[in-house]
């Protein structure tokens, strides 16, 4: 079985650092474009994300998930941090207006990874309000307040739907051995 590129980075193979960038550059760039305000932000973020990925390579455990999900988790964390910081910084250039995206048909995501297929199937089982809240928050990078404004929904309801939706998706994906008592039922 071929070693994962992250395992090779963790062992200190210098060629694997660039191989990681070749393999996952498009994925990280696309996520960064979705979750930043400007192209310049995205360019800076991609470098931060890859540096973090290379440094964290030793923590990748293939038993817990794919490299794509591991890298996407790091990318989202970095981008969320940047979005939080950006709230306090005035934007000097015009922000990009990106078209909102929705959920793919679960059958279309087979080329991405098994977790994406499972996630698509799980999200399809949520209530429409939960699907919409997660769609705006996770896929489009909107804050809870922005979601509340967009959906004309109380902030507390957005938070509740986000919580119930994420926990239920996790349970439906089989990532939780025992779902918490009151989430899946609701």
């Amino acid at each position: 079985m071929t070693d994962s590129v992250l395992a090779r980075i963790a062992r200190g193979d210098p060629h694997s650092v660039r191989a990681c960038m070749d393999e996952f550059g498009g994925l990280v760039w696309t996520i960064a474009r979705r979750l930043t305000r400007t192209r310049a932000d995205a360019e800076d973020a991609v470098q931060e994300i890859f540096t973090d990925v290379w440094r964290s390579a030793g923590r990748f455990d293939p038993v817990r998930g794919s490299e794509k999900v591991f890298i996407s988790t790091i990318a989202r964390r970095r981008l969320i941090d940047r979005l939080r910081r950006a709230k306090h910084v005035p934007v000097m250039e015009s922000e990009d207006v990106l078209e909102r995206i929705g959920w793919a048909d679960s059958g279309d995501r087979g080329e991405i990874c098994a977790e994406a297929v499972n996630a698509a199937q799980a999200v399809a089982q949520l209530k429409p309000d939960q699907q919409k809240v997660i769609e705006l928050g996770v896929l489009n990078g909107m804050s809870h307040q922005e979601i509340a404004d967009a959906l004309r929904m109380p902030l507390g309801t957005v938070k509740t739907q986000m919580r119930r939706g994420l926990i239920q998706v996790r349970a439906l994906m089989g990532l939780e051995s025992r779902p918490p008592a009151d989430e899946v039922a609701q």
């Binding site: 395992a7 963790a10 200190g12 210098p14 650092v17 960038m21 550059g25 498009g26 994925l27 990280v28 760039w29 696309t30 996520i31 979705r34 360019e43 991609v46 470098q47 890859f50 540096t51 440094r55 964290s56 030793g58 923590r59 817990r64 794509k68 999900v69 996407s72 990318a75 989202r76 964390r77 969320i80 941090d81 939080r84 995206i101 929705g102 959920w103 793919a104 679960s106 279309d108 995501r109 991405i112 977790e115 994406a116 996630a119 999200v123 996770v138 896929l139 938070k159 986000m162 919580r163 994420l166 998706v169 996790r170 994906m173 990532l175 939780e176 779902p179 918490p180 009151d182 989430e183």
Partner: protein
């Protein structure tokens, strides 16, 4: 604590917040405190779920622009250039700690872990937050005489849950003759460092500082384990560990030399000794 960690409403709220729009420092502090009651909890569980959901979105992957690729190539070259140095240090640690009877695969896994851990040390950026309070460390160390600390360490060792790991020298020459160990009890969150051969320091100029790398935290932000001194004339010194944040799954303890009073941002120039928890 019985029950599923996501049944704790406030804990679930904070983990959802972390996974969806991030946490403030105060929220992080509260989350750390709540997680202590759930040692089996996976604090990244919902972040990973959100990442899988992101991949389920209706978007097409765009190629990395050439201008970004050029920047990344430069960053990759710089990062790769640091790897041999890290590997040499890892190898030195591995030579000292690897057990002859260990299987090849176990030794290899340990080496890989050590490489990534030491890489983390070489690049960490301790967080600028509430965990720093160097003066308290010194008062705590001074308030207990050396005999009491030896006795307290023995008591901790005799209890049911602690583990013990030996120091290995790191890059700084001052660590080459150091022997001793770390004893840490994850339940009581207490521990002691024991040193022989560690040079006495002049507290007015330089002091030692402990950093604890936690599996559940970002490697850039190790927990400050306290500032301490080594007096002259003592053959063996026992120092209490004073972690400023809860330590859930420690993977590496590292001692650095810093300016008097300790630091919040380490220069990373003088790493004296390390004790790896994983695979040791």
């Amino acid at each position: 604590m019985s029950g599923h960690f996501l049944d704790n409403e406030r804990l679930a709220d904070l983990l959802v917040q972390r996974a969806s729009e991030g946490l403030s420092e105060a929220d992080w502090h509260e989350l750390d405190g709540l997680l202590i009651a759930y040692p089996e909890a996976d604090p990244q569980a919902l972040e990973v779920t959100a990442a899988a959901l992101l991949l389920a979105g209706e978007w097409k992957e765009e190629p990395l622009p050439e201008s970004v690729r050029r920047r990344l190539n430069a960053a990759a070259a710089e990062f790769s250039a640091g790897i041999p140095k890290v590997s040499q240090l890892s190898a030195a640690v591995a030579r000292r700690e690897a057990k002859p009877a260990a299987s090849t695969s176990a030794g290899f896994a340990w080496f890989a872990a050590a490489a990534s851990i030491v890489l983390a040390i070489a690049t960490w950026i301790p967080r600028l937050d509430y965990q720093y309070s160097g003066k308290v460390d010194l008062l705590s160390q001074a308030s207990q005489d050396s005999e009491t600390l030896v006795v307290e360490r023995q008591k901790l060792l005799a209890s049911s849950s602690p583990w013990q790991k030996e120091w290995s020298p790191a890059e700084d020459p001052s660590g080459t003759a150091v022997k001793g160990d770390v004893v840490w009890d994850p339940v009581s969150q207490t521990g002691y460092m024991r040193f022989t051969g560690l040079q006495a320091n002049d507290p007015g100029t330089l002091q030692y500082q402990l950093w604890i790398f936690d599996e559940t935290r970002d490697d850039h932000y190790p927990v400050d384990g306290g500032v301490f001194d080594i007096p002259s004339g003592d053959s063996e010194v026992v120092v209490p560990i004073l972690a400023k944040l809860p330590v859930r799954t420690p993977k590496l303890f590292a001692v650095t030399i810093e300016r008097s009073g300790g630091v919040v941002v380490s220069s990373r120039e003088r790493i004296v000794v390390v004790a790896a928890v994983s695979g040791g």
